[in-house]
Symmetry: C3
Subunit: 451 residues, 3 copies
């Protein structure tokens, strides 16, 4: 026997978790609430509970609705495996596969999205509570949410499983919240992985959120949150990490792989940090600071942009051309310091043709400080791009990338658009690689040999 506040979905007397784990969890939540109905007194509180999901394959037909604080839902296995590779594998090969679906503590999201409720209507887990205080300390840990299939979006393309659209969301938090944690999860084949509105001190750490339309989205407004140590990779339509109107976010030590339209997209975000991440993308616009993003720090990140190597996905992109900038900045007083930026692409794939790609594009704003960034631009090494999602998956990668094999690609390292003033660009490119009005912006070029 275990504590009354520890629930195992496979042991709960009501419902069948293999047929509908959503219904079982909702029953458990009702039970917790009924037992905690009396008001807190004498410093005694309403502690919440933990709902344990052992490894297993659970169907979810009914949306889970969470409206109490201190609920933890935990499994024992993030269960990620690539569904994208599998759906693009011929059936005859697939017949030999040892397993074909994600696993671990796996929830198969099989409900019909309620279109009337928008994105929330398609959420497997929907958190929302009115009144005070803000709902607090809800935790999701170490299980898998699998959206199963993408679907034909009517665009006429026949590869429905590659659309990144199915109206499903893994976790949707719809009201102001405090001190939530989403850790160790595996999210896959969802149009939206995690969407959180109005968060304070939210932690999204150590998750594997990939092959989703969008991976992590912070919406509304919020502050003082952390997105760290995740593996993330959205579809070509969406963002790997998105935030709007937040302050004080820390995006650190994430390994963000393709093919998100952006690795990070900030809209109206202020005083936040993007540090120590590894970003890999197939398109321009890897990092976008839009709508007056101010006083943010982008430092110690590794950016790599190369071309989509995988045949099934080569027909898609994010629609941006190479003049948009790998880093695109609309805002003021931001800092872009000590980053490494690699762009490698064959000239035949540059859009518009014969254009000189822009690496850092300051489209508006003033007071930005761009210093000590090392930009390496070369034509593509097609030999090393031979695997899905691959940057350089080859025992020969070192030799292939040695400068003996590389041909330099001419780029605009930094472009500061007309009208932007008081920006500072230091040691991030030679004089001929940086375009800006130097009468109103400050510049020091990276020194060149012999001077």
């Amino acid at each position: 026997m275990v504590s009354e506040n520890f629930y195992d979905v496979t042991q709960y007397p009501l419902g069948n978790p293999y047929e509908d784990i959503g219904s079982v969890i909702n029953s458990i939540i009702a039970d917790i609430k009924s037992r905690q109905a009396v008001r807190d007194q004498n410093d005694g509180g309403k502690p919440g509970a933990v709902i344990y999901i052992p490894p297993g394959d659970y169907r979810l037909v009914t949306q889970v609705v969470i409206d109490l604080s201190y609920l933890k839902i935990a499994g024992s296995g993030h269960g990620f495996t690539s569904s994208s590779i599998r759906f693009n594998t011929p059936a005859d090969e697939l017949a030999q596969w040892r397993e074909v679906w994600p696993g671990g503590s796996r929830i198969r999201v099989d409900m019909s999205p309620d279109a009337a409720d928008g994105e929330a209507g398609g959420a497997a887990f929907y958190v929302k509570r009115t009144g005070n205080p803000r709902i607090s300390s809800v935790e999701f840990a170490d299980f898998c949410i699998d959206g199963l299939h993408f679907m034909d979006d009517g665009s006429g393309q026949d590869d429905a499983e590659n659309t990144y659209r199915n109206g499903k969301t893994g976790i949707y938090v719809g009201s102001a919240n405090d001190s939530f944690r989403i850790t160790g999860m595996g999210l896959i084949y969802l149009e939206h992985g995690v969407t959180v509105h109005d968060a304070d001190a939210l932690a999204i750490d150590n998750n594997f959120i990939a092959e989703c339309g969008n991976c992590i989205e912070l919406k509304g407004m919020g502050q003082a949150s952390r997105i760290a140590n995740n593996f993330v990779g959205a579809g070509y339509r969406g963002h790997s990490v998105y935030a709007e109107n937040y302050g004080g976010i820390l995006v650190s030590s994430n390994n963000v792989f393709p093919r998100g339209a952006s690795s990070v997209y900030f809209s109206g975000v202020a005083r936040s940090s993007i540090t120590g991440n590894r970003f890999h993308s197939f398109y321009p616009g890897m990092l976008v600071l839009a709508a007056n993003c101010c006083e943010n720090l982008v430092s110690s990140n590794h950016f790599l942009r190369d071309r989509e190597p995988w045949a099934p996905m080569q027909k898609y992109d994010n629609g941006l051309d190479d003049l948009f900038g790998l880093l695109h900045i609309d805002g003021s007083n931001n800092s872009v310091i000590a980053n490494h930026i690699s762009e490698t692409i064959d000239t035949q794939y540059i859009k518009p043709l014969a254009a000189k790609p822009v690496i850092i594009n300051v489209v508006s704003g003033s007071g930005n400080y761009i210093a000590n960034n090392h930009i390496v631009a070369t034509t593509e090494m097609s030999q090393i791009n031979d695997a899905p999602n691959s940057a350089c998956f080859s025992t020969q990668v070192g030799a292939l990338l040695s400068t003996d094999n590389l041909k330099a690609l001419e780029v605009t390292a930094v472009l500061v658009q007309r009208g932007s003033v008081r920006n500072t660009v230091l040691d991030s490119g030679g004089a001929e690689q940086v375009e800006m009005d130097r009468t109103v912006n400050a510049f020091r070029g990276t020194p060149v040999p012999g001077q």
Copy 2:
């Protein structure tokens, strides 16, 4: 049935964990020790045990005393919610609140501190062992320690719950130790959150330690430890992170919010790193390197100092004026590289009045290297400070912080006091913003437009 080395506090036959979990845990520890009384032989050791605290609301009357290695105490919920906001909410509003206390696996510290034993006497968990080897691998994970109330400190102020004083400590480690872990915890309303003496290879990761007088304190001497990925925020009297006489510490990727007297205070610390953190403070002295701190690295951090926006706390501060420095450095051969520093404050709040605030203040020492820091100083945006602990919690934050709305604030970007020599200041402010004796220190100003 489960293993004999797995204990659930709610299932243990002796004592009642809801009345006094301290007594129950001490009984369990005695049981573990009695079962492990024989000396290790034939490579077989004394493995310790895990004590599980399911979600629940447990009173602690008796101090837990830990004197054996390999003990893990783990819950299923950090349970943080703001008690500070609640205690400053009118009673009539509070009557409508859905819950009023922290939760999760929550321990209510309700013992009478033993004043004779100082800080250790007020500790809920007291770790101490004499002899060899150092006590090793004690772990605390995923539960909540709630100090419940602060108390009138005799200062004549009537808001007892805002004093950050109650003589209580969450976890106090009093003797030399090795390879401890404190992870995923929620600590709140304790005068001291975690205090560890003489640590080697200590990990304090992924915790939520806030609304405590002091949050994390490393005392005595120690080395090779890590404080990473925490949410931390001390009271106005104490430090969010404090260390003395340690070497080789790594403070990284923490989100440290107000209102600590310091975000990080190092005394006599050497060869340690403060990298990739986000710091927010309401006072000068955010980062203090005191008492000959040497060869430390401070890089890729985001610092924000603005004014306390929340009425109940506006009467408090840490007593320092704006000449003290946001970063205050006493020591040699430290590196301060690639940080973003924002200060925003209305001139009417500057102390002493009409002073020019100092951002980086090197008060003594030589050989410090201060390079590529971007300092943004502006007058306050009062519109954006409308919520407790808020930096910029508003959907309008981007627009408000755009330079159209900002008025520059004149500051001393770097001050190197007389007597300090061989310091180097590069690209961290213009010539007129950096004060130092350039005949004995090296300087290169951030370039300005048109030059």
Copy 3:
């Protein structure tokens, strides 16, 4: 009763985990496979299972062989304590020790390595599967693997326990894999801690892997993986972190202590990051980028090299002399930005005698960008090196390291060997400290006072 996919090794009816946990786990794996024999259908998968190892002392005689996806093996205690200190403690002192072995959920590796199968043959946990898809989402968490003893290696030295050789490996992954996690583990006294071939999106986080011949080795080829927040420290023969032919790795926020031959050794690695780590070493060659490592980022790290302070280990080193470079770079287009590097050693210990130690040595390659590194070189402070593994474990450390007590050591801050071109060295040392051909490489010296 708990779920059928949750196994506790102490409750499983077959075998005795205290006598041979390997045999018990293999039986459990066979049971999981037999229950999952039917092919996945209707979106339903093969979820795997979790095998729980409660705290306890388990002997492993039979190698565990893992060939199914979604298996999680988890304990409740990493159990690290120093065996190295113990084996070098006199027997009469040891008789007083409170415990002498590691603990937690501890597996004592006591099998006879199968020499015919090389490193894999000596692995406690051997993961290997042929066919498609790659084996996915195997997880190891929160337990201890103890290799028990090192052994005489025939070198004639009589301290067998200090050889770092015993033919044992903790975890060996021998085939291509996806989304594995190794977290919270304690590994000790193994010739190889964790060896993983051909990984994609591997996470090695929050482990304690020390006193092993080698700690973390990524072999074959692979990509997009993360090694973060670990405590690591290999023996003098091996590497703390090693990778070959990988792309897109993120090595971040690790605290790597002595005495590895290298803290990080990359061979043919490309487009990877080493950021925000703290490295401490007793020998040159702390960081080696070998065999054409290209486009990697090394930033915001703290490097410390001093002399081995502990008598039993002073006779060993890694065989490299001080001209090798603390950072040794063979490759192109790498970035080394914003690091702090301390070297402190008495001139009598420099090899070859009277040589000028090299800090950053670019032995070949072009296009490397080395900027804003702060190098502090001094003669040794013998007073502060008084404990095993100690950098500066003393309450006087601050004062001892103050410049009043330091004597500068003359070094070559950066050496770019003949034949290397188009490298850029900025603000990382004075003109007299940087040796390179400035007609083909770019240079700007750190400014000096009075200029």
